[in-house]
């Protein structure tokens, strides 16, 4: 007979878990006691939200399921934002929470909260385990559900008496079988043929690639497909990295802060191939005018995404990688769409992203300098706001899983803890968190975690002393009435030093490169406080509710 806590730890090991991010408390004491001399590495965060984000960062960077652990009540509730973040971006994590003993459930016991009820709408599935004998099966199912199909977070709530309760080993099946859960991986043959037929006739085809390409590890297939059929590719925020930035067919990001040429291409295209993307409102702008001349092929593993926001001509439900492989098998090499590609080249030349060069310290310059310096030898994480958009626009990403950001939920405070998780997935490369001065203060306590665990995250704060993205909207749409968006100056280097982290404050262009050099040369974590142009905006921009080719802050159209 074994205790539930021991069964839990053994089950995690059987799933191949090496690192978990967590924070202890009363009802998880039995689990922590088991962790004390287990081979699992436990990283003690400073706030449970960070544990969830770290598990998420680990999952995004590695493609494996991330794990976090918290106590009941306040601990579990602190995970909620992190779980919702993972849910919106389809990231596989397993969140383990302690719960009050089963005989007290529903009694408003000390530190009781109904975390399975609370997380029902933000998990792919969740469990309240009622006996130690169920634990190994539930953990096996949780990892299976989180990591297959359209991936997502799964929460397992474990009452204290389940951790202390005893059970014999339960024989588990080789493969999990759940009669209510059967994802479709292979695309329908007829639909694939229909797609190829449309492709054969298209004159202005365009691939719109989302995060699904990255989560199904389909970047090589995507690039091969695009190249063979000579179809330009625009990516969503989540899809960045699925095609190298310098690839001639890459148009960069589309949507609200997309490139002008990507948005023009969407508007003029006659065939859009949406791959692992979900027609989010930040991408489409006014949905009626999105890709108005295009027939649409939609490849996605989640049937519920097909036709949700936009009428689809050829739906293909399946794993993006498997479907692209099938398409490649059946496809013939096509002549380049000369006129279309020429037009796109013209747009690219005449509507590039702007990078002001007037001697002032502009964030675009900072991002480009970092990009040129580290090339493909780093993973970049971001916070949320202008810092995120400038990075998405100006950093040159070469590979999938090297750009880690909270897209669907847009969670400020995501970056630093996610970067910690990324480090454990990719200890071989430096990890940079591109932050805003607002966002970094949402989880700045994690400076403690990176110091005590020697996690060499490099924090790049684009400090404009504003909640910059909100200020930008106030400037543009609320008559410059800066209502509660100004932040007082903070000496971030001093905060870093208080935790024992080195850092540097940067106030001019010629200090930028040396700062990054110092960051890379430093073995441990490093904090850079860049005092950027305070009222710099992210352009181009599609105002809310406008068509995506109606951008402001771009180049005059010729």
């Amino acid at each position: 007979m074994k205790t539930g806590a021991k069964i839990l730890v053994e089950s995690l090991q059987r799933e191949g878990v090496e690192t978990i991010f967590g924070y202890p408390g009363g009802v998880v004491l039995p689990i922590y006691d088991e962790l004390y001399d287990s081979p699992l590495r436990h990283i003690l965060v400073r706030h449970e939200q960070a544990a969830a984000h770290a598990a998420d960062g680990y999952a995004r960077a590695s493609g494996r399921v991330g794990v976090c652990l918290a106590t009941s009540g306040p601990g579990a509730c602190n995970l909620v934002t992190g779980i919702a973040t993972a849910y919106m971006d389809s990231v596989p994590i397993v969140a383990l929470t302690g719960q009050v003993p089963t005989n007290l459930l529903g009694n408003d016991a000390f530190q009781e909260s109904d975390i399975t009820g609370i997380t029902m709408p933000i998990t792919k599935h969740n469990y309240l385990v009622k006996s130690a004998g169920d634990l190994s099966r539930v953990i096996q199912e949780a990892f299976y559900i989180a990591g297959t199909g359209r991936q997502g977070p799964v929460l397992v709530d474990i009452p204290k008496d389940v951790s202390t309760g005893l059970s014999a080993d339960v024989k588990l099946p080789e493969k999990v079988k759940l009669r209510g859960y059967n994802p479709t991986y292979k695309g329908h043959k007829r639909q694939i043929e229909k797609a190829l037929e449309l492709l054969g006739h298209a004159e202005r085809p365009l691939i719109y690639a989302g995060g699904g390409v990255i989560s199904s590890n389909a970047s090589p297939e995507l690039v091969e497909f695009a190249t063979l059929a000579s179809i330009p590719v625009t990516t969503t925020l989540m899809g960045i990295g699925c095609i190298p930035c310098h690839h001639p067919l890459n148009l960069g990001m589309l949507g609200m802060h997309g490139t002008e040429y990507a948005n023009f291409a969407v508007t003029e295209s006659d065939l859009m191939i949406a791959i692992g993307a979900r027609f989010d409102d930040r991408v489409t702008g006014k949905i009626e005018t999105f890709a108005p001349h295009a027939k649409i092929i939609h490849i996605d593993i989640d049937p519920a995404e097909i036709g949700k926001n936009k009428r689809i001509d050829v739906p293909i439900v399946g794993d993006v990688k498997a479907v692209l492989q099938d398409l490649l098998l059946l496809m013939k090499k096509r002549d380049a769409h000369e006129i279309w590609l020429k037009k796109i080249k013209y747009w690219k030349q005449h509507h590039p992203l702007k990078c002001p060069k007037d001697g002032a310290l502009h964030p675009q310059y900072i991002i480009r300098t970092l990009s040129d310096l580290v090339k493909d030898k780093a993973v970049i994480v971001s916070e949320v706001g202008q810092n995120q958009m400038w990075t998405a626009q100006h950093f040159c990403f070469h590979n999938p899983r090297t750009w880690i950001t909270s897209g669907g939920l847009g969670t400020m405070g995501y970056g630093l803890p996610a970067a910690m998780g990324v480090h454990f997935a990719r200890p071989d490369v430096p990890v940079f968190d591109i932050a805003g001065d607002g966002s970094i203060q949402m989880n700045i306590q994690e400076f403690g975690t990176i110091v005590s665990n020697k996690i060499p995250v490099k924090v790049v704060i684009l400090n404009n002393m504003y909640l910059g993205m909100v200020r930008q909207w106030q400037e543009l749409f609320y008559d410059r009435r800066y209502s509660y968006t100004e932040l007082p100056p903070v000496e971030f280097v001093k905060i870093a030093q208080a935790y024992g982290i080195d850092g540097v404050k940067v106030e001019s262009c010629d200090e930028v490169l040396p700062a990054f050099q110092a960051a890379i040369d430093c073995d441990g974590p490093f904090v850079m406080d860049f005092r950027i142009e305070r009222e710099e905006n992210v352009f181009p921009m599609v105002p809310a509710g406008a068509a995506i080719n109606e951008m402001i802050g771009g180049h005059p159209r010729t």
Partner: protein, 167 residues
């Protein structure tokens, strides 16, 4: 916009009903009627849900239901020939020598059973489709309806077709 009757086969586990109803409220769907009970398989339950919406919205909610791990199968009965029934218990003021005779007469026309008789009231049990029960209720209002209890609608396909799990 028309009512759709969805037959949802689910795992018979704690919390499944709240997963299903939570999904409706979260996605802004109104449930017109809901009925839950055991079904032909021991470990499963059947939930019958009536929703009103255009076809695209109903299709979306069916897909979302299908994504729930504990949902085994979703069938839109509205697409097919089917039988649908509700049951109502109605307590009506009906005094002997007063309206009682007339109430009993109406009951028999509607094939409603008298299931309880009090000093000043009778209780009727009626089954049928929604329209029939609505019509009976309307007629009884004039005498004074003291209490009305209606079950949700349940439905089954006609002929050999079923809304059971594929195995």
């Amino acid at each position: 916009m028309k009512p759709h009757t969805l037959s949802v086969l689910v795992e018979n586990k704690a919390g499944v009903l709240s997963r299903v109803t939570g999904l409706f409220s979260r996605r802004g769907f109104n449930i017109e009627s809901l009925a839950v009970g055991p079904c032909e398989e021991m470990e499963m339950s059947r939930i019958t849900i009536v929703v009103i919406g255009d076809d695209a919205r109903v299709e979306q909610v069916m897909k979302q239901l299908n994504k729930l791990i504990d949902v085994i199968k979703v069938t839109d009965l509205t697409e097919n020939e089917r039988v649908e029934r509700e049951l109502a218990l109605i307590k009506v003021t009906a005094e002997p020598g007063g309206s009682r005779a007339e109430v009993m007469q109406i009951a028999s026309i509607f094939r409603a059973q008298i299931v309880d008789v009090g000093a000043k009231s009778v209780t009727l049990e009626v089954t049928g489709d929604t329209e029939k029960i609505d019509a009976l209720e309307q007629l009884l209002r004039q005498f004074g309806v003291k209490e009305l209890v209606r079950t949700g609608r349940v439905g089954i396909l006609r002929g050999a077709k079923t809304a059971t799990s594929s195995k």
